[in-house]
């Protein structure tokens, strides 16, 4: 009795099918998958860099990291910034700035502005939920912020969306796991 056996019928047919797919692909399809992945990554990069040019800010989308602006902004909220040079800095605006020497941006409100005739501005900020102004956060001996410290002015707001970034910062293993799963999905999915 001839047993008509086909090589591979004994392979398990559950989640390991993705590797079955990979094995069936020839070189051209593999290159196609990799290029597809590269296209996705470069499109994301282009959109980000395009936003930087459009808004004039080095970081047009930021996630609120602290509770110093509650109840307006909570940890995990998303802010959209612009930083046009023609816009003067005025009291009441919410600015995102970086203190010299530290690279964590801070989101607070401008409470004092002194601008000279030639356009030189010095200003002071304070978080809505803080009792005192930000002079304790500035550099030693620094009493005012200048235009060069500003990353951007907050123009738009979305709640909760930035929580993903905060979780990824607090639990780096989650970040690597997420990237690995996304990478595996894009690379191994067959375009059927």
């Amino acid at each position: 009795m001839v047993r008509a056996g086909v090589v591979g019928t004994h392979l398990p047919t559950s989640s390991l099918d993705i590797f079955g797919d990979l094995r069936k692909m020839n070189k051209r399809q593999l290159y196609y998958q990799v290029l597809n992945f590269a296209m996705i990554v470069s499109s994301a990069l282009m959109i980000w860099k395009g936003l930087i040019v459009l808004t004039g800010s080095e970081s047009p989308i930021v996630v609120v990291l602290s509770g110093s602006m509650e109840p307006a902004f909570h940890r995990g909220d998303l802010l959209f910034l612009t930083n046009f040079r023609e816009d003067p800095i005025r009291a009441g605006e919410i600015v995102v700035f970086k203190v010299e020497g530290r690279d964590i941006p801070i989101v607070h409100r401008v409470i004092k502005v002194h601008e000279k005739d030639n356009g030189d501005i010095k200003f002071l900020t304070k978080g809505d939920n803080n009792e005192v102004d930000d002079r304790g956060l500035y550099k030693e001996g620094q009493n005012w912020l200048e235009k060069k410290d500003v990353v951007g002015r907050a123009r738009g707001f979305l709640p909760y969306v930035g929580m993903v970034t905060i979780i990824m910062n607090d639990y780096p293993k989650f970040k690597y796991a997420l990237l690995a799963v996304m990478g595996a999905y894009v690379l191994l999915k067959r375009e059927s």
């Binding site: 559950s14 989640s15 099918d17 993705i18 109840p71 307006a72 902004f73 003067p88 005025r90 009291a91 009441g92 605006e93 919410i94 409100r109 409470i111 004092k112 502005v113 002194h114 601008e115 000279k116 005739d117 010095k122 002071l124 809505d128 102004d133 002079r135 009493n143 005012w144 907050a154 123009r155 738009g156 707001f157 979305l158 709640p159 999915k189």
Partner: protein
């Protein structure tokens, strides 16, 4: 691929797209609204001192004390996409050394659901009104305005200035209180 996984994936992608479209719709319904309102401001007392600025730069600067009344009806500014209003009273003036000076003297957070009609009397300034120098002495053009920032549930963050303003004439010498 396991069908459960691909179904969960499609469901997740669909939910995200629908929520994004809804949020965009919500933002657009209130993006172009006029958020201004009439404001009535009155000043009742002004005092000028010259003190070393203990809040920061340690130089002797003009320090002003202002007591004021605020009256405003912000009911129309609140709508279904407003989470809170951040109100602030700012003094704007011009001096010899600085063309534009703005100092926030008082602020208030008005949450959704709180009484939107303001009628406050004899309010003292919350923050120290230090000038960067001696520009307050004899300055007749210090203007007080009430502005507010609209914090939406999702969308644009506009800054609006109320339509009433009042001018505070500062005295020509120190330590003399002027009442109106």
């Amino acid at each position: 691929m396991n069908t459960l996984l691909s179904r969960a994936n499609s469901l997740f992608a669909f939910t995200l797209s629908v929520m994004a479209a809804l949020t965009l719709g919500c933002i657009l319904t209130t993006a172009f609204k006029d958020r201004s309102a009439p404001v009535s401001l009155k000043v009742s007392r002004v005092l000028l001192k010259k003190v070393e600025d203990f809040t920061g730069p340690r130089k002797r600067s003009d320090l002003g004390f202002i007591t004021f009344h605020i009256s405003a009806d912000l009911e129309k500014t609140f709508d279904w996409n407003v989470k809170q209003l951040f109100l602030y009273l700012s003094a704007e003036y011009s001096t010899k050394s600085n063309a534009v000076n703005q100092v926030v003297l008082w602020d208030k957070i008005l949450l959704r659901g709180e009484n939107p009609k303001l009628d406050l009397k004899d309010v003292k300034s919350k923050y120290f009104f230090f000038d960067d120098g001696h520009g307050l002495k004899g300055n007749r053009n210090v203007t007080l305005t009430l502005s507010w920032q609209v914090i939406p549930i999702a969308g644009i963050l506009p800054l609006v200035t109320g339509s009433g303003r009042v001018s505070v004439p500062f005295p020509d010498s120190y330590e003399i209180a002027t009442a109106f």
